[in-house]
Subunit: 264 residues, 2 copies
């Protein structure tokens, strides 16, 4: 088992792609992977459930990579299933190591002892969020201030009810960039696009934005794409081709502070 050491197993550190990217956007994919590392086991899930939407956001990483190429953007993603630890949740959230996802129990997460919980925080959450923080701080140092975009996908049906929304644009306290992205998406695409749907900050889905963007006053948005629209590599590319100009155009529309003058 991972110890409480500062050095987690190398395979669980945040994955960083395009580290030398010159674009302003930093893409983040907390639910990129459905990997269940041996050290944590398969949590009692069938092979089928290990590949289902409860384990990850299918299509999100492929879409994010397509966006990263088109926007010359840094991409940071997590290498472990969100059922092991959901990096978009604080360590004290019940949903961070959820005992049930949609209608599916996750046996390996039920009644997890405090030390088991801590092991997952050490091995998965801290390397991801501290690694992402380091990348953002480096870009903030060099300037210009990065813009944070988290990329997620959602299932077309939730507890048996179909969802009509195709693209969700979600914000937390700072709606600047989300508002601009919403306007550009509606102007440039035919996607059924909604603000703060199918989730909103009240559902606890904006942890990364709160932790990484808001303390630095960085413009930010969370994207949710219905996963039937990015179900294979070709569809991911087509969606990236559609959304890259949306994110780029919205960037031009917001006034983002470059630095903070401090005294004292």
């Amino acid at each position: 088992m991972p110890s409480t050491s500062e050095s987690p197993p190398a395979e669980f550190t945040a994955r960083v792609e395009n580290r030398d990217a010159r674009g302003r956007i930093v893409l983040v994919c907390e639910h990129a992977s459905n990997a269940f590392p041996d050290v944590f086991g398969t949590l009692g899930l069938s092979n089928e459930l290990q590949s289902a939407h409860i384990a990850w956001d299918p299509g999100a990483l492929g879409l994010a990579r397509g966006l990263a190429r088109r926007l010359d953007a840094l991409l940071v993603h997590a290498p472990v299933s969100r059922l092991v630890f959901d990096c978009n949740r604080p360590p004290n959230a019940s949903g961070a190591i959820t005992p049930q996802s949609e209608m599916y129990p996750v046996p390996g997460n039920a009644g997890l002892a405090p030390e088991g919980r801590l092991s997952r925080v050490e091995a998965v959450y801290l390397p991801f969020q501290n690694g992402l923080h380091s990348e953002i701080a480096r870009r903030l140092t060099r300037g210009p201030a990065p813009v944070i975009v988290t990329v997620h996908s959602f299932t077309p049906s939730w507890f048996g009810t179909p969802r009509d929304v195709e693209l969700g644009i979600i914000h937390d306290e700072d709606p600047r960039y989300a508002t601009a992205v919403l306007a550009e998406a509606r102007a440039r695409t035919r996607l059924k696009t909604e603000l703060n749907a199918p989730y909103s900050a009240a559902d606890g889905v904006t942890h990364t934005l709160r932790l990484q963007a808001q303390p630095y006053g960085l413009a930010n948005v969370m994207l949710e794409i219905r996963n039937d629209l990015i179900a294979d590599a070709e569809a991911e590319e087509a969606m990236a081709e559609m959304l890259a100009p949306v994110l780029e155009a919205a960037l031009a529309a917001v006034d983002i502070p470059q630095s903070t003058e401090i005294r004292g």
Copy 2:
């Protein structure tokens, strides 16, 4: 020079004392040290200025240690002078590597090249803030939710003008704990105590609170003690003896959420 590697020189990592402390308060001292490591040099400062208040917060670490003992509190402090890098400032703030402090120029910080700036972020800022984040996340995982208290000192005279305030209680967006600490300090001590003086969040002094406490909804406060009141070890102990009951009593007065229920 430090590289952009993930592993900074061990001597610059965040200093952690009382890691197994059972108290709820986490004490933070960003300006604990007036060390000028060889790798960065003395920035062109005289020996006298390297020991002056511009280089650190004299008395703050001694006071924080006195509080840590009395409150059974974790203590995290930075091992490098704030003139090398001010860990209580974001990397893009001019004050993070200030070319002038009060009326004193800091020659080694004037015209620093971007790579020099980045080296200090890598070597000082990131190890400190990521290290502090790890400690806070561990405590959040185990519960109860920690309460963050940053400990600072200020000079009795600023640009030649004397300051009357003895104890400053400073908050950012969440005033819960600060309000309670203010009331307890006024009730239990004769210190001339002011809210948001001699600095306030508008002066950019609450970066650590924004970065470490607010994203998790943790109660927090910044303390500023006039440094002539903690000028030697005996005075530091006396101040700790006075302030520990204030912090403890205020803790009982605020309702601090223990966890966050998440869905989605």
